[in-house]
Assembly symmetry: none
């Protein structure tokens, strides 16, 4: 069965509205084991919608169309469908009754414009819309099944669940199952990962990459009858080739993984940030329950705040600069000491666009870690915009915490 | 000129990734006065990509394809393009040099997988990618111009700006102008805005809404020969109807608006956060130059950190709770005092999912502001997920700072 989706609307092709209907239905059908072949979006133009229907009718067996069923003049879908199927539009009593009923329920007046919504191609099966005023319809044409559904996301979703999915389930009861596992990595480029995974392909398994800045996610996808062991074997193989660059195979974020490790080991963390400006603490506290292992953070943006809150010696800042190994170590020691935490992590760097020097260009970032056995620091040179450097710095700090706990605690 | 966009990738048609490239290019080309006719998205399959190219080649004069140019085996675009154009793939020296150069700049090794990226259809014009390692290319075929660009959003956008837009400008120099102005608001729901704007439509003007959580953005769009005064009249009318719910008509973020106001008035800000966990400081420091007006932030997650860093009395926390008007005012006073700032802003609340009580359910958030004339606090009840409550809290605090400076300073 070849499935295809057409979404209509000027607001989509002019970039005003993000097409969330397609994103949602694609995910929903995929997880149910169906394959979406094509998706087309097209503006509110008779000629272009007709072209999209013609092409879909040739290459697919089920076509789902969203949008253009409302009461306004730019709602053209029913009219174009009747042209395409070669049948007249006629007033559908069932559809008319449904529109009246919906308006009555909401205490609204039936307007002439609403009557338009009840004109459907002759021979269409009405799909009642219980969530809004625009009726949908289904039409069989030359062996192809077309569903026409409203574009309002809430109505579209409800009607896909109510009409489209039951139809597809009935038509393909014994389809293959679909399994997907996502392996999340940080610290290797996509091409380095591809190099390490060379030759890992197996019959029946598809491996895809999706860079999700600053991480690379690897998806292992299988479709078939009994694919679970095949998927888990492949995942294990990938993990063993990529080592500790893999931080999750269960969908968790890096901050969730770090939070779980801290909680399991009973460790308390506090952080001191300069260039990341609170992003590290924000990410840590995005995890529910983080108050169990996160004591406090400070965003010591000004030099005097580094001195006053963390006790970094003023002479150290003037001798080495705020962005230096010495200062970031003093920040890490300071935050650990004042918070009485097990781990103190500090970040100081130049996020740009200003502030770079030849010795310390934009992107220079020091990360410090203070723990019971001592204090360490690392120097990095990140590339990117101000926000990207903030993200990379916070990610690198989180990843260091993860590896530190796994290896040293 | 018929423009068409094809985006490729299993992650798009299986609903894993939201197709932001199309959304962006559609908006960008529209604002430049071009019309996008069709958009097709298709999975990583030779057969389906080929079909999409064939159809686009028949109905459009310029086709922009994104994705599938990476080093991994599921990157199929160059191969399919060579099939479609009926020319062999060959190692393109210019592309190879570009890939080597990019990797050298980043201090990375050239891997066998990277070589694949330099194989392009014979006769293609290389489009140098200065933002990543995947070269793009341009190909003329039967009167149709095809652009093939990488799918990584940053690279895709940069290459559209660098190559596609100059090409289109040259090809259509005398098109209608297109004007769009975005009015950013916070604090009113979409339906409330629609109510206030009733009857504002004018001939030749299109008004669209795009909710951009937690803000609502209103777009005023006009296409024609002399539309500037029409657009600015409409914008002024909207602003006067919505009052100080409008924070920007020039595209700035709320934190940029706040930063500009602080800088203009010579005010120094410091913040103390509990439930937002650093998000407020993160947003403030996303603005380049924020060190001119932002002194420091503290993320006082634990009760003892509120006491130790900010001097909030322990008895106050035990009597009123950490989430209370009393404590948030003491936090605001404390951060203002220790940082010697003009404004001290504090947030304390229950972001959930745990921690709610009947008197203070999840979403209860207190915001405090300390300034030279006194200390105030406000209580809110936000609805949403943990992250949404963090975003709403930080947005509300920023918006309060904005209004405070505009009205009271």
């Amino acid at each position: 069965m070849n499935l295809e989706v057409i979404t209509t609307g000027d607001e989509i092709v002019s970039g005003i509205t993000l097409d969330t209907n397609f994103h949602w239905i694609a995910g929903r059908l995929t997880e149910l084991g169906f394959n979406v072949g094509f998706h087309t979006s097209v503006g509110d133009s008779k000629e272009l919608i007709l072209n999209a229907l013609e092409i879909a009718g040739k290459r697919s067996s089920v076509v789902i169309v969203s949008g253009g069923l409302g009461p306004t003049p730019d709602d053209l879908t029913a009219e174009v469908a009747s042209l395409f199927f070669g049948v007249p539009l006629e007033l559908n009593k069932e559809a008319l009754y449904m529109v009246e009923e919906r308006l009555r329920e909401r205490g609204r007046k039936f307007l002439e414009a609403n009557k338009k919504q009840a004109y459907l191609p002759k021979g269409a099966t009405v799909l009642k819309n219980l969530w809004g005023t625009a009726p949908g319809f289904q039409f069989e044409n030359k062996g192809v099944t077309f569903f026409f559904l409203p574009g309002v996301p809430k109505e579209f979703k409800a009607m896909v669940e109510e009409y489209v999915i039951p139809y597809l389930n009935k038509r393909c009861p014994n389809r293959d199952v679909y399994r997907v596992k996502t392996i999340k990595t940080f610290g290797l480029r996509e091409s380095e990962i591809a190099e390490r995974l060379r030759g890992i392909e197996r019959e029946g398994i598809k491996i895809g990459f999706s860079p999700s800045f600053p991480e690379v996610h690897i998806r292992v996808v299988a479709r078939g009858k009994e694919v679970d062991s095949l998927v888990s074997k492949t995942v294990n193989d990938i993990v063993s080739r990529l080592g500790d660059h893999v931080f999750s195979t269960e969908g968790e974020t890096l901050e969730e993984v770090v939070g779980k490790l801290l909680f399991q080991r009973g460790l308390i963390l506090s952080v001191a940030e300069s260039c990341t400006g609170g992003l590290l603490a924000h990410r840590i506290t995005n995890v529910p329950g983080s108050s169990n292992y996160f004591n406090r953070g400070v965003v010591v943006y000004s030099n005097e705040s580094k001195v006053e809150i963390l006790g970094v010696p003023e002479e150290m800042i003037s001798s080495f600069g705020a962005v230096s190994a010495e200062v970031v170590k003093a920040m890490a020691d300071g935050i650990r000491r004042i918070s009485n935490s097990d781990l103190g992590v500090a970040i100081s760097g130049i996020a740009g666009p200003g502030g770079g020097t030849p010795e310390k260009p934009v992107g220079t970032v020091f990360i410090g870690m203070s723990h019971s056995k001592g204090t360490e620091s690392k120097r990095y040179l990140f590339k990117g915009t101000r926000e990207e450097i903030k993200v990379l710095s916070s990610e690198t700090a989180l990843d260091w915490i993860r590896k530190f706990i796994l290896n040293d605690v």
